[in-house]
């Protein structure tokens, strides 16, 4: 009997999420009346709650325990709060961005609950804290106009934090990513991403003369080098690409972009030859089944999960996502695809893409260069991170050890993504005021 419920709800959830995804793109097209737009966004919000409810109904049907109900109420309450905050405190915020943020958070919380209830609870607690902390961010962005002058503050803070990890950090999975403060593990590169975008934006907004560009590039290169030394290659890539994109748009010179890209490629090849762990990742990418006993194990398990799940998924609690190492963090996409289905997973990619497009849209419409570049930079940070994590999980590219923002477990990642979204909201409010 419970199998029947699981089976039917699978199809229902896919249908609901497909509708949600379609609405994301439909709402991006701004050529409709405000009322129409509002109705679509309202429907979207309802869909978020329906999908979330569906998932927990299934999980309750399978587990039949009380903590399922408790978790559901807690999570639904949080989602409500977020929506209420943005509706009543930040009236001119982008409802679409809030919807997407809630949808991704809801998916993250529900799949984490299925994978590991303790981690789900911790993630929930951090989410609550993040919502409270980031309450102030849109206000800061909107009202504090001196932020563009703090270029060197951002740079110094960023480099100091990254250097701290490189020196003091604890090694996990072959890379130095985090250190412990008062018993909590912090991954500073997640926050430095935002500081770095602010730095680059303020430098390039001031001037795009060669001297300025050279200074900015030197500092950017320093960030990347420290990350490479810490073996946090995923973050290094994100920083590198974000800087290139911001540089290209600020200077309007394809020369910088192309030469940057070429030197990046050269550096990648050099990294491949120099670093063993790069070679390991690449060999796992090329033929994981042949190295399944060592470096290919994680990717193989991920592909077993995705393949066996097929297009419609196995259903919640019916698969074996816990066989994938680090499934709650970097490889959460595989768990989503295995149990909720390939169609659901593709829709998830598309929702992330629509977020990215939304950020870019905001960037395009802001007049002021500094804010424009921030929106662009944050959008690139977000979009590229999604590409790296989903690509690594599906063996599209070698895996690089980054998480899926808002979905993966990870306090620093969650908080920094909340900050990122809040900054975007601040910029959106600014733009609304500009026009």
């Amino acid at each position: 009997m419970e199998n029947l419920i699981v089976e039917l709800s699978k199809y229902l959830m896919i249908l609901l999420f497909a509708c949600y995804t379609f609405m994301c793109f439909y709402a991006l097209n701004g050529k409709k009346s405000d009322r129409r737009q509002k109705r679509i966004l309202k429907k979207q919000t309802k869909l978020i709650f329906l999908i979330h409810l569906n998932a927990f109904a299934v999980m309750f049907a399978v587990k039949k325990t009380q903590d399922v109900l408790i978790a559901y109420v807690m999570q639904a309450a949080l989602l409500c709060c977020i929506l209420v905050i943005y509706k009543y405190i930040y009236k001119r915020a982008s409802w679409l961005v809030v919807n997407n943020m809630c949808m991704l958070l809801a998916i993250g919380l529900m799949i984490l609950f299925r994978l590991n209830q303790e981690k789900a609870l911790r993630q929930y607690e951090i989410a609550v804290a993040a919502v409270v902390i980031t309450l102030i961010v849109p206000f800061v962005i909107h009202k504090l106009h001196f932020l563009y002058r703090l270029a060197w503050l951002y740079a110094v803070a960023g480099i100091a934090l990254l250097a701290a990890v490189a020196v003091l950090g604890s090694v996990s999975y072959g890379a130095k990513l985090s250190f412990r403060v008062a018993g909590i593990a912090i991954q500073p590169s997640e926050f430095v991403k935002i500081l770095f975008v602010f730095f680059t934006a303020s430098m390039l907004a001031k001037s795009t003369e060669f001297a300025q560009v050279a200074k900015a590039t030197a500092v950017a290169a320093l960030h990347v080098i420290i990350l490479v030394v810490s073996k946090d290659l995923g973050a290094a890539l994100i920083f590198f690409i974000t800087y290139l994109v911001m540089l290209y748009v600020a200077t309007r010179s394809p020369f910088y972009f192309v030469s940057g890209f070429l030197s990046g490629s050269v550096a990648s090849v050099a990294a491949y030859k120099l670093f063993r762990h790069v070679r390991v990742r690449v060999s796992a990418w090329k033929d994981p089944l042949s190295v399944i006993d060592n470096e290919g194990y994680q990717v193989c398990q991920s592909l077993f999960a995705i393949g066996t799940g097929g297009w419609f998924g196995m259903g919640l609690y019916q698969g074996m996502p816990n066989k994938i190492p680090i499934v709650e963090e970097d490889f959460i996409f595989a768990a989503v695809s295995e149990e909720l289905g390939g169609i659901f997973a593709v829709c998830l990619i598309m929702v992330c893409a629509s977020c990215y497009l939304m950020f870019l849209n905001i960037a395009m419409q802001i007049q002021d260069v500094f804010y424009k570049l921030i929106a662009l930079g944050l959008g690139t940070v977000y979009g590229f991170q999604v590409v790296l994590t989903v690509g690594g999980v599906t063996k599209f590219i070698p895996s690089t050890g980054v998480t899926l923002p808002l979905v993966s477990y990870g306090g620093s990642s969650l908080l920094s993504t909340f900050i990122l979204f809040a900054v975007i909201q601040g910029l959106y409010i600014l733009r609304e005021e500009e026009s």
């Binding site: 029947l4 089944l289 066996t308 395009m364 260069v369 690139t380 599209f396 026009s435």
Partner: protein, 503 residues
Amino acid sequence: MMKKDWKRTDPEQLEERRRKKDAKKFWNEQAGETANTVRNREFAVVAYLFLAVFLGMIAYFTYFQVEKSEAFINSPYNARQDAFADRIRRGDIVTAQKEVIATTKTAKDGTESRSYPYGRLFAHAAGFSTNGKAGLESIGNFQLLRSHAFFLEKILNELKDQKNIGDTLVTTLDLRVQQAAYDALAGNQGAVIAMQPSTGKILAMVSKPDFDPNTIAADWESITAQSSSSVLVNRVTQGLYPPGSTFKIFTLLEYMKENRSYKQYGYQCSGSITKDGNAIRCFGNAVHGQEDLQSAFAHSCNASFSEIGLSLDLDRFAKTNEALLFNKKLPCEFPYKQSSFPLASGASSWEVMQTSIGQGKTLVTPYHLALVMCAIANDGILMKPYIVDRVENHDGVEVTVNEPETYKELLTPKKSKTLQQYLRAVVTEGTATALNVPGYTAAGKTGSAEFTSAKDSHAWFVGYASKEGVPDLAVSVIVEGAGTGGAYAVPAAKAVFDAYFGS
């Protein structure tokens, strides 16, 4: 393009902009382009680049699900498959004529066990599913644990909390042919495989020594404890043997390729040939006298073929053999071993002579030679071998069908037809005349592969037979340590052909 020098917006400018809001809006609508949109080209480039990457990722994901996921799903390392068994009753494996060779029996208390009605007859082909998986139980594991029963039936089962019944694997195996092959090997060790060259279907696969799949779980300890026991090895695909005189097919092919005037070949056989102090003798001390290429091949003259071998360009010989799948991956659904041809230029004359007659370091599997025979019989084109014809749900409704597929052209049609002629000569005037019967037209090559210095030999026969109105059948037979190919392997092949052609 003029680069505008954008100044920072401070509150005053913001106010001014708000005042100019309406004017700007009007200007936007009229001109369609503001100073702001001038920068949009770079945004567009960046946006399109990223979108291209996103789409590429989605496309790859789709490609994976459609094409490559099968290999990963079926991987024996994938633990998820066993979880299916909780909800599905493992399906049946049947022959092409629907005789059941593997099924699941449910005891009164609900425990399930796997039963093999024909016991040892299909031991290696059907395999087993306890203690790991082998044979068809492994190849079709995913399909056997899926149920495509009519959806109402599935819903009813769900409501009654009963297991659904897994799909049925309809194989290409033929009971009569398998039985004939099994009986022909009798108490000897060895392997027999029978395939259809025009489709790639595997009709029979027998390997001895074998095991009783019905008691495999109970016997497991004793089977794996003995270090000399090799009952679990499927000698068809994993048995590596010296090919013996069957290798003369390859030597012949290379000679024809290197010498356009091969039809003018003549040799006076005195029973042996000596080179650099080493002598090769014809089998059984036979003296063949004057022969042309066809009769030398038909009578399996070692002396003549040693001489031919010495005249060959060894690098080209290696290339020809690799085109015929030596040292290469084989299309095979079972675990298998690659055949090896290690001879290269610079080898001693002794090695060359040995190798040309199928001794030396060359090793082949019966499966590989069967593939070569299939290619020759099919005018050079090897069809992809397969053993699962289709999958049906337990009521007989088709789920998926496997169609014959071309694998590769191993040799040209012209060369194939020439080889067909020579292989026929072996049956009409050579070492396999027992196959020269009216019921069908057989062709092939015998082999007696020596494998110890004491001159024991494996008996080989590889070949095919045709009859009007019936698809051809290719066979590969090896009887270990029995004696000559003609005396031991040919009768086995004859039994298989007789069963297939129904004479």
